[in-house]
């Protein structure tokens, strides 16, 4: 190898020489040709925008920053970091492909969640069910109007669950080719909950309804909190084993938190373990942000369907709260219905904030936490149904 050869080899391996791919004569579609040529640089710009959203706008930065950076790395020409021998490809294969990372994160979520407000006021669980309307509404639209296949429609619907690990787990099983777009949509809209929800909530409620005060929640004993995760898991075993990996991970984390004898493990799930897995989950989900899978009309549709799903979920929760008030003496404030979409604890905070606007003395936060955590269970159950019926 002489100087000229080395220089040529080095030039061949630069990004400049490979950024824009040469025209591939076997591709006949003009748009595909364009993507083939300029896909990677466009994706890099998109990832920089996602990074900006994560850092500057603080859109779920714990996930959006790693996802965007993973996307950046996987669109670098030549390096093939997302390929089968690249480090993001290896991490993806080991951790996401079989669903390990989302389940571990769900353990941590369980170890960080206090189901007390739900146990204190069980009927608010139904609000967490009504908000799953977003999932099935978006599924219906995706299937009938946007031409997605049934598994794809199921994966898109789950965006409406407003629950990151659940979305990633379901998408990996049903439609891994959509993982990048769905994860980006799910986390972005979760961050946008304070923007998306209030207009819908105000539209569907009267000022009087928004001012309803709720009685203070009773104290929940330690034993109830210990038994609760086992009850949820038990129901799930009887009714829907397909949801058991998700619900099992969630309830395991929660049992470890509440039982009080394995605090070492519970602390680790909430900190070192969930942080480590979040880093790798984010980076490897980002590795699916390739131009041929992301720069499609499908991605546009997914973004549209995602916001539809969030809106339907919000509406579902609020409307069902009003329906419940028709049949119940003890009135509930319909604003806490919107917290049923999960997006813990953001949606509950939104309920509280909108409630305070109507009545500055009315703190709804703890009341909204009930439907909020019920929404996590509801989404996991809905995920189990999708996994059972959509493939």
């Amino acid at each position: 190898m002489n100087i000229a050869d080395s220089l040529y080899k080095l030039w061949q391996s630069t990004g400049i020489a490979n950024f824009v791919q040469p025209v591939d004569p076997s591709i006949t579609s003009g748009f595909e040709q364009f993507l083939h040529q300029f896909g990677s640089p466009i994706m890099i710009v998109i990832c920089l925008i996602l990074l900006w959203l994560g850092i500057k706008k603080q859109f779920e930065p714990l996930l959006l920053v790693p996802i965007a950076f993973g996307g950046l790395l996987s669109n670098i020409p030549v390096a093939d970091i997302a390929g089968p021998n690249g480090f993001l490809g290896i991490i993806y294969e080991a951790g996401i492909h079989k669903g390990l990372f989302p389940l571990i994160i769900f353990m941590g979520v369980g170890a960080m969640t206090d189901f007390g407000p739900l146990i204190a006021n069980p009927k608010t669980a139904l609000l967490g069910g009504a908000a799953q309307f977003g999932i099935f509404g978006a599924l219906l639209l995706a299937l009938c109007c946007f031409g997605f296949t049934l598994p794809q429609a199921g994966a898109i619907g789950i965006i409406g669950g407003a629950d990151g690990p659940t979305s990633i787990y379901v998408t990996t099983k049903l439609a891994p080719e959509l993982l990048g777009a769905i994860a980006v949509a799910a986390y972005s809209y979760m961050a946008l909950v304070p923007v998306i929800q209030p207009p819908i909530m105000k539209l569907l409620t009267t000022k009087e309804e928004r001012q309803i005060q709720m009685t203070q929640l009773r104290e929940v004993t330690k034993r109830e909190k210990i038994v609760f995760p086992l009850v949820v898991l038990g129901l799930c075993i009887i009714l829907l084993p397909d949801a058991c990996p998700l619900v099992g991970a969630l309830t395991f984390g929660n049992l470890c938190k509440e039982c009080g004898v394995v605090d070492r493990l519970s602390d680790t799930m909430q900190n070192a373990l969930i942080n480590i897995v979040t880093i790798f989950l984010g980076l490897s989900v980002g590795s699916k942000l390739s131009s041929d899978q992301f720069l499609t009309t499908q991605t546009l549709f997914i973004l549209v369907l995602g916001i539809v799903a969030f809106s339907l979920a919000t509406a579902g929760g609020v409307i069902f709260a009003k329906i419940m008030n028709l049949f119940s003496k003890e009135k509930i404030n319909p604003l806490i219905g919107s917290a049923g979409v999960s997006a813990v604890p953001m949606a509950a905070r939104v309920s509280n904030k909108v409630g305070l606007e109507a009545n500055p003395q009315n703190y709804l936060l703890m009341h909204a936490m009930g439907p909020n955590v019920a929404g996590v269970i509801g989404s996991a159950v809905a995920a189990g149904i999708l996994l059972a019926l959509c493939n």
Partner: protein, 81 residues
């Protein structure tokens, strides 16, 4: 509006009906089970009242981890010294 669309529509609505129905059924059963659970636990708490506290206390104590205890000890020592 062709036949295929109708098939998809039926499938979509079937899924929606079944899905929402199932989620609601699950949560309704959960609501009643939670009620039963709370009553059972409160009954048990009356039968064995002290035990509950015994379980709770070590849990809470354990929350203050060793590291923190050390940090506190040093802090107190320095603040007093």
């Amino acid at each position: 509006m062709n036949g295929e669309f109708l098939v998809l529509l039926e499938q979509g609505f079937a899924l929606m009906g079944i899905g929402m129905g199932f989620v609601f059924s699950f949560l309704v059963v959960l609501v009643f089970t939670m009620g039963g659970m709370s009553k059972t636990v409160q009954f048990l708490n009356k039968l064995f009242p002290e035990e509950v506290k015994v379980v709770e206390k070590p849990g809470k104590r354990a929350n203050v981890s060793e590291d923190e205890a050390i940090a506190v000890a040093i802090a107190v020592a320095k603040a007093q010294g």
